[in-house]
Each structure stands twice: as structure tokens, then as C-alpha cells.
């Protein structure tokens, strides 16, 4: 793939050709050659269904990259492939030069210490308090004395505004608080890479705003590379430096948020502007509606007769 | 922290109780005694029939348990049963040469055991000696058979 200047967006058509789409004004430079994660020709099938049919991604270092797409396109699956929890049927994933799926179990776990991941459900350990949840990565991966662990945990909790909630158990937290605690836990070891799985899904506007701010601030302050998977277009576009749109197992479009906003391709425009129906069908593939209904009636009659 | 200590204490008690239970099963239920293995006195006896006597059956003297049957094997020379008994070492050098051994039954249908009774010979049995004078097990079927045949004769 060619070196892309920040002003342009590239659309990868179904035929695999690159096409210039639009440009935006002066902004932060995105250098895709300095990529922390490289995904090449990634294919993944689950059962009979092909979820990814050859995906190429470059996640620039120190930036926030968003991966968007309609639900059911396997965005979470993509994160699991990058984190080495699933194995692709073809293609490779490289993080900081390491081939993720060629690592031994031990090496894989060592690599994951440099990664943080925020799960959609938060996934806090339900038998540990908020404090112990955040302290967990520190306790298992470092030999720091208790006093220092306490300091680090309090700093992390303070940064998500939940220092006062440290004695609570996960069951006592609201959804937004859970996700913030999970965020504090994900950054406890100051990872190089943090992956957010649907960070805004199911949040009220206030906690959504808080999370948007937090993700942006953490990236600016700590220089972490962030990968956000989301279908909340408005929020994602406000924080992302670079965006990939995935649909039908392929990268449909990529570029800076401004470039994508001005995108003319009808499929991309439909998704970005949230139109209910368009080239991306609202319906799951099904036989003709009228025929289906009549067929059902026939079989019901047959059943009654027999 | 306090909760963790309570928990550890509980688990510790649980494990200790398990071991105490094991000791109870050993001492009270299976009657294991800690006597020295070499501090015993071994005697043999040949019986023409042992009935249902088996290893670990008890050996008594005047009704007092003084040892147990160690092993039972067939003596290929005489085709009878050779029983090895392990007796209390305090009996060493006390049993006269003409001591008799009989296989007895506790109750009508109870288990079988060996009863020893001493004679008056001044010579004594040494470790590993064989008791000559033995009385075999009373087999109920044979007894009934005898009784029936005697009864029909008269």
C-alpha cells in the first residue's frame, strides 16, 4: 500500500483498487509507515461464514485509530485476532515487529503485558474490589512494594475520577463507572497499545462525554497508541486521528475523519451519516418476502392436514 | 486482611480435622497398633482343613487375643494347610512343645479363629517352630452329614 499523506482518504473498492476520494485542510500528519500494528491479508471464517476476506490495516503509533462498521461485521473479532485470542485462517498480524500468531503461549502472554484492552462489559473481576481490580495487573506483573502499588492505583483511579469509589465492589457500580474502572485497569501498566471495544455503547450522554474526554486525554498525555472499535459515529469521529470503515469482510474506506465526512461513496456516506437504508442493506439476506409468507402458510396447512 | 486470615484458619481446621479423622479410622476402626514388626514371635501349624480361616484372623489363648494369622499356604509335601501365626513376643519361650492349636468358630455362624492351649512338656517352642498337635476346622456340612448318617443308621 502506498504512503498516504494526511490530507487524503483512500477508498478500497470491492475490486481492490485504490481511489482518491477527497481531501481536508491542514491537520496532524498521519504517517502510516510508522505503524505499531500491521495487519496483512487477514482472513477469518467462523463455521460456514467468512467474517474477514483479506483485510490490510496499519495502525499508526501514538495516534487514535478507529475501526468502524455496521454491527455484525466482526469488529470485536478483529480485536481478538490482534490480541492473539483467535487465530486467522490466513494472513498475519504484526505488533511492533512481532508476528502475533507465531508466538508461543508464554511469549504471547508477555506481549499482552504491553497491551491494554477495555471490554464492552468492562469485565471487572467480580470477586475483587475496585482497588484490587486496578491493582491486579501490577500485582501479577511487577514486584513493586504495596505502598507503591497503592500510589499507582490511586493515580490511575484519580485520572478516571473514581478515587473515592476504590472500596466498592464491581456489582455496586453503574455501567459508566464500571467502564471507567476497567479503563483505569487497562492503563495500570502504562501499555504501549490500548484497545477499546465499543467504549460508548449503551452509555448515557454524560458518561459518554466523560469517556470521550478520557480517551483523548490519555492518548495526549501518555502518548499511547489507541485502537477504538465502535459504531457510535459522532463520538468516534471527534476523537479519532484515522478511521477505517469495515463492511462485508473488507476495508471499505479509510482516511481522516474530515476526509470520510466528505466521502462521496454511497456506502460510506450511508454509514457515516446514519441513513437507515441504502446500499448497505437493512435486511439480513432472505428469500422474497411475499413468497416466504405464502410458503409458511402452505406448510402450516400441510401440517394440519397430516 | 482479617477476612483472609479467618478463611485460612477455617481451611486449616478442615485439613486438620481430616487428618484426625484418618487417625480415628486407623486406630479406633481398623485397630492398627504400632508394635515393632521384628518384635514378634512366629509359629507354624499344619491343619488338614482350615474352613474359612483367613489371613488376619485372630489367634487366642484362653479367649485372649495373642496374635494373628500371617499367611496360609498349601504344604505341597502333605497336601495340608500350613498356617503361619504371628504371636505376641511376650509368649516367646513360654509355650510348651506340646501346645495344641484348634480352629474354632465364634458363635454358630461367626468367623473362625485359632485357639491355642498349652500342655505340660518342659521343652518350649522357639521362633519358627511348628505345632504338631492341631485340630482342624469344624465344617458345618460335614457335621450335618455325620449327624444325618448316624441318625439314619440307628
Amino acid at each position: 500500500m502506498t504512503d498516504l499523506p494526511g490530507q487524503t482518504a483512500t477508498r478500497t473498492g470491492a475490486d481492490g483498487q485504490d481511489a482518491q476520494a477527497s481531501s481536508r485542510g491542514a491537520a496532524g500528519e498521519i504517517n502510516l509507515d510508522d505503524a505499531l500494528i500491521r495487519v496483512e491479508g487477514l482472513r477469518f471464517t467462523r463455521g460456514e461464514r467468512e467474517i474477514f476476506s483479506g483485510i490490510d490495516l496499519k495502525i499508526p503509533r501514538g495516534k487514535i485509530t478507529a475501526i468502524m462498521g455496521p454491527s455484525g461485521t466482526g469488529k470485536t473479532t478483529l480485536l481478538k485476532l490482534i490480541g492473539g485470542q483467535l487465530t486467522p485462517s490466513a494472513g498475519r498480524v504484526e505488533i511492533a515487529g512481532l508476528h502475533v500468531h507465531g508466538l508461543s503461549r508464554r511469549e504471547l502472554f508477555r506481549m499482552r503485558r504491553r497491551m491494554g484492552m477495555l471490554f464492552q462489559s468492562g469485565a471487572l473481576f467480580s470477586d475483587l474490589s475496585v482497588f484490587e481490580n486496578v491493582a491486579f495487573p501490577l500485582r501479577v506483573h511487577t514486584d513493586l512494594p504495596d505502598a507503591m502499588i497503592r500510589d499507582i492505583v490511586l493515580i490511575k483511579l484519580e485520572s478516571v475520577g473514581l478515587r473515592g469509589a476504590r472500596e466498592l465492589m464491581p456489582a455496586e457500580l453503574s455501567g459508566g463507572m464500571t467502564r471507567r474502572v476497567a479503563l483505569a485497569r487497562a492503563i495500570a501498566l502504562d501499555p504501549d497499545l490500548i484497545m477499546y471495544d465499543e467504549p460508548f455503547a449503551g452509555q448515557d450522554p454524560i458518561s459518554m462525554g466523560v469517556l470521550v474526554n478520557l480517551i483523548r486525554r490519555l492518548n495526549d498525555a501518555l502518548g499511547m497508541t489507541a485502537l477504538v472499535v465502535s459504531h457510535d459515529i459522532k463520538e468516534t469521529l471527534t476523537i479519532a486521528d484515522y478511521v477505517y470503515v469495515i463492511a462485508d469482510g473488507k476495508v471499505m474506506a479509510q482516511g481522516t475523519p474530515e476526509a470520510l465526512n466528505a466521502e462521496s461513496d454511497p456506502r460510506v456516506a450511508q454509514f457515516i451519516h446514519g441513513k437507515p437504508d441504502g446500499p448497505v442493506p437493512f435486511h439480513y439476506p432472505a428469500p422474497d418476502f411475499a413468497g416466504d409468507i405464502l410458503d409458511g402458510r402452505e406448510s402450516a396447512t400441510r401440517r394440519r392436514e397430516s | 486482611m482479617k477476612r483472609t486470615r479467618m478463611l485460612e484458619f477455617g481451611v486449616g481446621l478442615f485439613i486438620l480435622a481430616g487428618f484426625l479423622g484418618m487417625v480415628f479410622l486407623g486406630l479406633r476402626v481398623s485397630g492398627v497398633t504400632f508394635q515393632q514388626a521384628d518384635d514378634t514371635f512366629v509359629l507354624n501349624a499344619n491343619f488338614s482343613g482350615i474352613g474359612s480361616l483367613k489371613a488376619r484372623s485372630k489367634v487366642t489363648m484362653a479367649g485372649v487375643a495373642v496374635g494373628s494369622v500371617e499367611k496360609i499356604e498349601l504344604d505341597p509335601k502333605w497336601f495340608d494347610a500350613r498356617v503361619t501365626m504371628k504371636l505376641d513376643s511376650s509368649l516367646r519361650g513360654k509355650l510348651s512343645k506340646d501346645t495344641t492349636a484348634a480352629i474354632l468358630t465364634s458363635g454358630l455362624l461367626g468367623e473362625q479363629y485359632i485357639g491355642l492351649s498349652t500342655g505340660g512338656d518342659p521343652d518350649v517352642l522357639e521362633d519358627g517352630d511348628t505345632i504338631r498337635d492341631t485340630q482342624s476346622a469344624l465344617v458345618l456340612e460335614e457335621l450335618i452329614q455325620q449327624f444325618v448318617s448316624n441318625f439314619s443308621k440307628s
Partner: protein, 266 residues
């Protein structure tokens, strides 16, 4: 494709498919046992094991001991009515203790353990899977097989023999309660008939060996069902049921095999 799913051919197809699934599941269970069970325990690992000993062992103690007491009492009552017909009621102690030590304590304690602790282990691990706790642990760089599964597996393995011993002790005492204190057998006869017929290695230890095997199998089935389930609420409830059913069957089947090996040639 669709032709293979219908008619007599379909039955064969689905039979083949389900046998492949079963064998694959056994393979996954074996890999789980190896990956979780083998390893050097750390100081922290022992702490986690103690926690689980409390959860699966100490908390199962009450139900196991109460059941043991009642079973011992029933054995004494039933045994007495049979033995008294032969005038052999003195042998009650022997009957109660041998039935308990050889069969009833290992088997009943294992069945109770499967119902009380096994199902709870499955549900707990399943819930962790459903709420992505296992995945997030993996992403933090901690192997859930070592951190979650291993302490539970080992706690089950150690707890069940201890529970079984408790079951036997309480059962024998319950038998004494009924036989001696209620039905009036001479107490000395109760204990002596026991002592002269129970062998420490042959009876007590064989019972303990049985319970070690059952402890491993029940907790293995429980953690595997929890780790391997479909992470939905329906999946959890199904896996919990499967744990109880499979471990009960495994306990009874293995009991026969072990009994045949241990006491078969006598």
C-alpha cells in the same frame, strides 16, 4: 449439503458429527487438565488454592457430615434387623464400617460434592466467561487456566478425600448411636467386630484412593464444563446440569471399575 441433512443419510451424518464433537470435547478436556494441572505452585497460587479450599471444601462440610450421620444411622437400623435374625447383631460394627469405608462414603460424598461444589464451580467459571472476565484476564497477560482453573481443580482433588473421611467418621459414630445407644448392642462388640475386620490398607486406604480419583474427576468435569460452555445464561444453566449428570455417572461407573480392581480378586 442439504441432502446430507435429511432422511436416513442425515441420521448417519449427525451421528458422525456428534461423535466427532464428543471426541473433540474429550481432547479439549485433556488439554485443559494438562495445562491447568501441571505446574509449580507459586506463593500466590497457594493463597488462591486456600480460598478455593474454603469454597469447595469447608462450605461442603455441613451437607456431607449431616448426610454421613443419617446414612450411618440408617445402615445400623437396617443392618440390625437383618443381623438379629441370625443372632449376629454383634457384627453390626463390622457391617456399618465396611459398607461406609469401602463404598458409601466415597460414592455418596462424591455425589454430594458434585451437586454442591461441582455445579457451583461450573456456574462460577461460566459466569466469568460470560462477563468476559476470562478474556480480559488473558489480555492482561495472566493465564486463566493457571489462575482460575488450577486452584479449583486442586482444591477439589484435596477436599473430597477429607470430606469422605469426615463422612465415614460421622457415619460410624451415627451407627454407634443407633446400634449401641438405642438398640442396645454391647458397645465393646460394636468396636471390636469393627477392629478385627477392618484393614487399614485394604479398606480405609482403598476408600481414600477412590475418593482421590472421584475428587479429581468431579472437579475436572466441573471446571471443564465451566470453561468450555457457551457464554450465555442458557449455556451456563445447561453446563451446570451437565456437570452434575456427567460427574454422577462418572463416579458410579468409576466406582465399579475401582471396586473390581481393588476387591475383585478376593
Amino acid at each position: 449439503m442439504s441432502g446430507l441433512n435429511r432422511g436416513p443419510l442425515g441420521a448417519i451424518t449427525s451421528l458422525g458429527r456428534s461423535s466427532i464433537d464428543v471426541i473433540a470435547a474429550i481432547g479439549r478436556a485433556g488439554m485443559l487438565l494438562v495445562q491447568a494441572g501441571i505446574g509449580i505452585p507459586s506463593r500466590e497460587g497457594i493463597g488462591l488454592w486456600v480460598r478455593q479450599m474454603h469454597f469447595v471444601g469447608v462450605l461442603s462440610l455441613a451437607i456431607v457430615l449431616v448426610s454421613g450421620l443419617f446414612i450411618g444411622m440408617v445402615l445400623a437400623l437396617q443392618g440390625y434387623t437383618i443381623l438379629v435374625g441370625f443372632g449376629a447383631e454383634e457384627a453390626l460394627g463390622q457391617m456399618v464400617s465396611l459398607s461406609l469405608l469401602r463404598e458409601l462414603a466415597p460414592v455418596v460424598a462424591a455425589l454430594l460434592f458434585a451437586g454442591r461444589a461441582g455445579s457451583a464451580l461450573t456456574a462460577e467459571i461460566g459466569l466469568m466467561k460470560a462477563t468476559e472476565q476470562l478474556t480480559s484476564m488473558e489480555m492482561i497477560g495472566v493465564d486463566p487456566l493457571k489462575r482460575i482453573v488450577a486452584p479449583r481443580l486442586w482444591a477439589g482433588f484435596v477436599s473430597l478425600p477429607l470430606l469422605t473421611i469426615g463422612f465415614s467418621v460421622v457415619g460410624i459414630w451415627g451407627g454407634k448411636l443407633v446400634g449401641v445407644d438405642w438398640l442396645g448392642i454391647y458397645e465393646g462388640a460394636y468396636w471390636s467386630s469393627m477392629q478385627s475386620n477392618v484393614d487399614f490398607i485394604g479398606d480405609v486406604m482403598n476408600g481414600v484412593i477412590k475418593s482421590l480419583v472421584f475428587g479429581l474427576v468431579v472437579s475436572w468435569i466441573a471446571v471443564f464444563q465451566g470453561y468450555d460452555l457457551i457464554p450465555t445464561s442458557e449455556g451456563i444453566s445447561r453446563a451446570t446440569t451437565r456437570t452434575v449428570v456427567y460427574s454422577s455417572l462418572a463416579v458410579l461407573g468409576l466406582d465399579f471399575v475401582l471396586t473390581a480392581v481393588m476387591f475383585g480378586e478376593i
